[in-house]
């Protein structure tokens, strides 16, 4: 079998995973896309291991480890998503913007003095606490 087939399949799967991670709104869907990317890597590992006929079978061993790590990752990830959902009431990635620049800050661009800085930072500190 040509090595190109699994390699190209893995590349395309990876790209699809990238798209999913970047485009999906729900955090669980993002996790699914991450799984797709991991599987693309696994496919590569297996294909190259079979091609190289490595005596240690490093590729297959690594694939097994990746699967195990992925399982752990999905467990922890889901736990985090659940906690965020419980605290914030949402699991939408683009609504978790605690690190964003406060939009109220744009109001003091027009005023020359820095006196209005106090309240927005105070609110932000409250929000992150």
């Amino acid at each position: 079998m040509h090595l190109v087939y699994p390699a190209v399949l893995a590349a395309l799967l990876f790209a699809i995973g990238v798209y999913g991670v970047l485009a999906r709104r729900n955090a669980i869907l993002v996790l699914m896309s991450v799984e797709l990317m991991l599987n693309a890597v696994n496919l590569n590992l297996v294909a190259f291991d079979v091609w190289l006929r490595d005596t240690l079978h490093a590729g297959q061993a690594l694939t097994l480890f990746t699967i195990a790590v992925a399982a752990a990752e999905i467990g922890i990830g889901l736990a985090i998503v659940l906690m965020v959902h419980r605290n914030k009431g949402t699991a939408d990635v683009d609504r978790l913007r605690d690190t964003a620049e406060d939009p109220h800050d744009s109001s003091d661009e027009t005023s020359t003095d820095g006196t209005s800085d106090g309240t927005p930072t105070g609110e932000k500190a409250e929000a992150t606490a």
Binding site: M1, H2, L3, V4, Y5, P6, A7, V8, L9, A11, L12, L13, F14, A15, I16, V18, Y19, G20, A23, R24, R25, N26, A27, I28, L29, L31, M32, S33, E35, L36, N39, N42, L43, V46, D49, V50, W51, R53, L56, H57, Q60, A61, L64, F65, I67, A68, A70, A71, A72, G75, I76, L78, A79, V81, L82, M83, H85, D92, V93, D94
Partner: protein
């Protein structure tokens, strides 16, 4: 060995595919399609189910690549547990059943651009590099349970054990994170 493989590859053109290749191609197409639906569908539960198809397709590909043990592990862990976990997660976060119009964020055009660019770059590089490489699937068995057990517990025992500790830690962590806090407990 590489020279031999090259010689074999010259003997095997793309226009005369073997049966394994045809099967791989077809299953690969199904897998890709399922993956695409997974990342584009507006129904969240469907996405999880289409993920099952994609991951299952990948398991078949592993089989075709003679990595039997990994194929079964794939089915067991991914299809069996990960997807089930994801479904639980969807339910616990009260994900809407049915079509949700806001499944995709506003970042979509950028995501498409980055994904297409990545795909193009990767495919170009991979094709350019491995155009003539041939995998000899015949010969000694490489991915059977016996072989896997042998190399795993002969050469990879230490990482295996370390991984088990990692899994344990992840287990504990997941429990701690998802546990509901009692009143008055910080």
């Amino acid at each position: 060995m590489i020279l031999a493989a090259q010689a074999a590859a010259e003997a095997h053109g793309f226009l005369s595919p073997t049966g394994v290749e045809i099967a791989f191609l077809l299953v690969g197409l199904v897998t890709l399609g399922a993956a695409l639906v997974t990342v584009t569908t507006r129904q969240l539960v469907h996405a999880a189910l289409w993920l099952v198809v994609a991951l299952g397709g990948l398991a078949v590909e592993y089989l075709l690549l003679t990595a039997e043990f990994i194929a079964w592990v794939q089915v067991l862990i991914y299809v069996g547990s990960v997807v089930v976990l994801l479904l639980f997660g969807l339910m616990l976060t009260k994900a809407p059943i049915g079509r949700s119009p806001d499944a995709d964020s506003g970042n979509r055009p950028a995501a498409v651009a980055v994904a297409v660019a990545a795909a193009a770059a990767l495919v170009w590089v991979v094709v350019d590099a491995f155009r003539t490489t041939w995998i000899d699937l015949d010969g000694a068995v490489q991915g059977s349970t016996k072989v896997t057990g042998e190399f795993l517990f002969r050469h990879w025992v230490l990482p295996f054990e370390a991984l088990s500790v990692l899994l344990l830690a992840a287990l504990v962590g997941a429990i701690v994170l998802s546990r509901k806090k009692k009143e008055g407990e910080r």
